[in-house]
């Protein structure tokens, strides 16, 4: 069959899965007074549609910041404004100031879900298709399989179409950034990434690799001539884009400070709720939140994050290739997730995107990580009543990505790049590939088991948070292990110029 028809079928399958998941409940459905993220998005449409720009981020009588105040950068606000205009055309009650608070109806749900689908279709899906066809290796069939597997990644589907968010826009823009850089269009790539950061400030998790890659490229081209020129061009692009995005707020420095204050709430503490990162897991053994002051916590997490992200960034700086760039994206964002301040469980999507890009090259570790990332958000899905879609999409994803990408057949020691580990471990007889496969089977079985226990069994009275805690600690161990693995793969790659395409093993 023709590639384009196979591709269309895969895209249609991805879209059908997304819409089918959106038939389920959303975050905070029918739960006054605060509701959830769905109501937050609707509220932002109300605020941006009815109020002037200079009031969006400020606490006024019309805008109560305690009730889902805007805490994303300006692009989210502009997007909400656009959606607000469309909403008011269909039914003004949806965005009526004050009276529309907590508005819920099936027509409104259809409208909101449709906005997510349209954003996905315009931003994320084309980026995935273009990435698979222009920046990945293999036959056309494999590229189509890759498109399907990336589109089936459950984490993004369940958060965007279930819980309700617009991650497909920020992740899509980041992916356009990767595309631009990969194809050698550095300015367009930088532009796309700056837009991504201006949509959701969490994209800063990806900023270090982008910075190091571009800087490394400039260095390689020679800081005396073309390199400097490239650096200047990129810097100008970044500054101009930032200026254009923040234009309405640049009139008054107070505005800028307030927005920054909303984006980076440093007063809120090391973590909230159960997250699969270091601090929350450490908190089980040592109550760090009570031992250390807020300032110390801030500096500790800053130091730990930079330390964890540093090796990968330096390696990328010295060797700015696409392969290193993809690995650095994974390593940096995962380091930020594990050690940063005020991390939410949904932020696992930030490392998940670059890992999706590695599905074609390292299928088994990628599938493992992506499944663990979806599993880590299980408590959130249970709260939103999304267990059935979670179970179905996770099973489908694991099955199809392992089947279509032959993940288990490509799990030899060589293909998993475990030679450096062998040198460290010094056990000549052990087949690391076999160990990897069996650990994978056990891990998936454990995840399935814990998922069913979370929904079928009631936790003991003394430990009401037992299952969320088990889920987050289990996921944390996976993330830590995979962080080490991806760092080893990135750093152990020899710096010889001969190995331009490291995937083609002899």
């Amino acid at each position: 069959m023709d590639t384009w028809s196979l591709l269309s079928i895969c895209v249609l399958l991805g879209l059908t899965t997304r819409w089918a998941v959106s038939l389920n409940s959303y975050s905070g459905a029918g739960k006054p007074p605060m509701f959830g993220d769905y109501e937050a998005q609707r509220h932002w449409q109300e605020i941006t549609y009815n109020l002037p720009v200079h009031e969006w981020y400020f606490n006024t009588t019309d805008n109560n910041l305690n009730y889902w105040g805007l805490d994303y950068p300006p692009l989210t606000a502009y997007h909400s404004l656009l959606c607000g205009h469309v909403a008011s055309l269909i039914n003004p009650d949806w965005v009526e100031l004050h009276t529309s608070q907590g508005f819920e109806s099936s027509a409104h749900k259809l409208f909101m879900r449709a906005t997510v689908l349209i954003a996905d279709l315009l931003m994320y899906v084309p980026a995935v298709v273009l990435y698979c066809f222009y920046l990945s290796e293999g036959s056309n069939r494999k590229k189509v399989c890759l498109v399907l597997c990336i589109l089936l990644y459950p984490g993004l589907i369940l958060i965007d179409y279930g819980h309700f968010q617009y991650n497909s826009i920020s992740l899509g823009l980041a992916l356009w950034g990767v595309l631009g850089l990969g194809l050698g269009w550095d300015m367009l790539g930088s532009l796309a990434f700056v837009l991504a950061v201006n949509y959701k400030q969490m994209e800063l998790y990806h900023s270090l690799p982008f910075f190091c890659y571009l800087l490394g490229k400039c260095f390689k081209q020679g800081m005396a001539g073309r390199g400097l020129f490239l650096l200047v061009k990129i810097a100008v692009t970044v500054l101009v884009t930032f200026t254009l995005c923040w234009l309405p707020f640049l009139t008054d420095p107070g505005q800028v400070l307030q927005v920054l204050h909303r984006l980076f709430p440093v007063g809120r503490g090391l973590f909230e709720d159960k997250v699969a990162n270091t601090w929350c897991s450490l908190n089980v053994l040592i109550k760090i939140k009570t031992i250390l002051s807020t300032d110390t916590q801030l500096y500790l997490s800053l130091a730990a994050t930079l330390l964890a992200a540093l090796p990968s960034s330096i390696k990328l700086l010295t060797k700015p290739t696409l392969w290193q760039f993809k690995l650095a994206l994974v390593n940096s964002s995962l380091a930020f997730f594990l050690f940063s301040f005020q991390v939410h469980e949904k932020s696992i999507l930030l490392p998940a995107l670059p890992v999706c890009l590695l599905l074609g090259d390292l299928p088994l570790p990628a599938v493992w990580f992506l499944q663990a990332s979806t599993f880590s958000m299980l408590p959130l899905f249970l709260k939103d009543g999304l267990f059935v879609p979670y179970a179905v999409t996770s099973s489908a994803f694991v099955f199809y990505s392992v089947y279509l990408l032959s993940a288990l057949e490509h799990s030899s020691e060589e293909e998993l790049r475990l030679r450096p580990v062998r040198r460290l471990v010094c056990l000549p007889r052990v087949d690391l590939g076999r160990i990897a496969r069996w650990t994978f089977y056990l891990s998936v079985a454990a995840m399935a088991g814990l998922s069913f226990m979370s929904v079928a069994l009631a936790p003991p009275a003394r430990l009401p948070d037992l299952f969320p805690l088990l889920v987050s600690v289990f996921s944390f161990l996976h993330f830590l292990g995979l962080l080490l693995y991806f760092n080893v793969v990135q750093i152990a790659e020899p710096p010889s110029p001969r190995r331009k395409n490291p995937k083609k093993t002899e």
């Binding site: 069959m1 023709d2 028809s5 196979l6 269309s8 079928i9 249609l12 399958l13 879209l15 059908t16 899965t17 819409w19 089918a20 998941v21 038939l23 389920n24 099936s106 027509a107 749900k109 259809l110 449709a114 689908l117 293999g138 036959s139 069939r141 494999k142 399989c145 059935v388 879609p389 179905v392 999409t393 099973s395 489908a396 099955f399 199809y400 089947y403 032959s406 057949e409």
Partner: protein, 488 residues
């Protein structure tokens, strides 16, 4: 114990094979080599569609959902003597007794999900547990359909040629059947058990194609006692079995040799059919309730048209004897289409009874593929009004695009060339125009208030052209003299 040389030679063979695979285009070879003998792709296809069905659990369901809940309640809570007399709900039991026993069996599982659904008085009860159970029961009973599809694929003629799995007839047939749009929409959204029933039908067909006629007859008898709508294709079955199973020899010119009637076979066939019917209707005949059961099964009071939706014309019902020489499956499809075109109180869903068996013919003959594309596309589009909610609009559009795109491209690749002429393609593109006019343009016009059913009528009439055209073409293919003696 193997010698060191043997071990070394084995290693070298493995290494060479690995290199060959890596160099010759990984995925094509792996696909071909691994599936030449194994059918590992079949579970992948079946699982995929089952996952999709599970995702549809929370979508819109029609009154048929309440119908089946009511039947679960009736069969579980009341004694057998009251089943066909119970009329608390308007959705009285109007399927044959075997289906009532099937619902009875299901109700024993249902009680573990939510006991309240089994109370007859709980009209319209649809708790989340009830929805989950009912939806899962449809998905679970589809196992019969999946098995039947596998058997049908086994019977499909294999052609030598392309090694590419995606262009093999049995793969295309499996995809067209397992992922059939009509079944997904009607069974897993609207809510019915057609997959289960069509599975029994296809299994019966497969058994006949495999020469296991007694099993096929048994399965068909069971099917008739599950849903009596299949009576419409009983003549095709009856005549075929009589002709090719009971009469053991033919004359040299192909006509029947009357003297070769095998009484043993006739008695075996008859006793199977009668015993199944006896098992099903027996208890009711013993209780003297046969007239009541029959009046429920054949409600002639209901009227000629079920709704505006079914593109049919009422006329005479027809049985074709000449069909014998052109093959059992073709005769079956024509009978099913006859019943759709001219039958009494036809549901639009009955088009599935023709589309599914036609899929088997479509992967074997170029002309049938063309007819299939016309009938399937038109028939599937005619199911659109079944899901009238706005939330289901993306679902039905995405799924119909998926199925139509796949059927067109796969069959075109299989038969290497265009299967439809310009007029047919224009008609099918017209379906898109009809949809846009009905859903987008008409609501903006002032007549929407006074004549709200115009859109349904328009769709019905437009689709009836395509269905009638396919019917005529299939009918003509029977009337044409055939050279091949015994095809499908």
């Amino acid at each position: 114990m193997r010698s060191a040389n043997q071990i070394e030679r084995r290693r070298q063979r493995r290494r060479r094979r690995r290199r060959r695979i890596l160099s010759s285009g990984l995925y094509n070879t792996v696909m071909a080599a691994s599936t030449a003998d194994s059918w590992s792709w079949f579970p992948a296809l079946a699982l995929g569609v089952s996952f999709l069905k599970c995702l549809m659990i929370n979508s819109y369901h029609s009154t048929d959902f309440e119908v089946h809940r009511n039947w679960l309640a009736i069969t579980h809570s009341l004694p057998v003597s009251k089943w066909y007399h119970e009329s608390t709900s308007e959705w009285t039991l109007d399927y044959p007794p075997l289906f009532a026993w099937f619902e009875y069996g299901l109700s024993h599982v249902a009680q573990h999900f939510d006991k309240k659904m089994l109370v007859v008085q709980n009209l319209g009860y649809a708790s989340p547990a009830t929805v989950l159970f009912q939806r899962l029961s449809v998905i679970a009973t589809d196992v019969v359909f999946i098995y039947a599809v596998r058997e049908c694929c086994r019977s499909v003629r294999e052609e030598k040629g392309s090694k590419d799995l995606l262009v093999r007839p049995y793969f295309i047939l499996a995809a067209l059947l397992l992922w059939n749009y009509g079944l997904l929409i009607v069974d897993h959204i609207h809510f019915q058990y057609n997959g289960f029933l069509c599975g029994i039908l296809l299994l019966s067909v497969a058994r006949h194609l495999q020469g296991r006629h007694l099993e096929g007859a048994f399965l068909f008898a069971v099917l008739l006692n599950l849903k009596h709508i299949y009576l419409y294709i009983a003549p095709a079955y009856g005549i075929f079995l009589l002709r090719s199973y009971c009469f053991t020899k033919d004359n040299t010119d192909g006509s029947v040799r009357w003297s070769s009637l095998s009484l043993v076979r006739l008695i075996a066939l008859g006793s199977i059919v009668i015993s199944v019917c006896a098992l099903s209707f027996g208890p009711f005949i013993a209780m003297g309730q046969l007239p009541q059961v029959l009046s429920r099964l054949f409600p002639f009071k209901r009227g000629l048209c079920h709704a505006y939706w079914a593109p049919n014309i009422w006329a005479l019902y027809n049985v074709v004897d000449k069909a014998l020489s052109v093959g059992f499956l073709r005769c079956l499809v024509v009978c099913a289409l006859c019943s759709f075109m001219f039958g009494w109180h036809v549901h639009e869903k009955a088009i599935l009874m023709a589309i599914l068996p036609l899929s088997v013919l479509a992967v074997e003959s170029r002309e049938d593929a063309g007819i299939f594309l016309m009938l399937a596309t038109t028939g599937h589009y005619s199911l659109f009004p079944l899901l009238f909610t706005a939330t289901e609009m993306p679902t039905k559009v995405l799924l119909i695009l998926l199925f139509t795109l796949y059927s067109f491209t796969s069959l075109k690749k299989l038969f290497r060339g265009f299967l439809l002429n310009t007029l047919e393609v224009t008609y099918l593109l017209g379906l898109i125009a009809v949809e846009i006019i009905c859903e987008v343009v008409y609501p903006l016009l002032p007549w929407k208030q006074t004549l709200p059913f115009v859109t349904l009528l328009a769709k019905s009439v437009y689709c009836s052209l395509g269905v009638s055209y396919s019917f005529i073409r299939l009918y003509l293919s029977i009337l044409r003299p055939t050279d091949k003696p015994k095809e499908l």
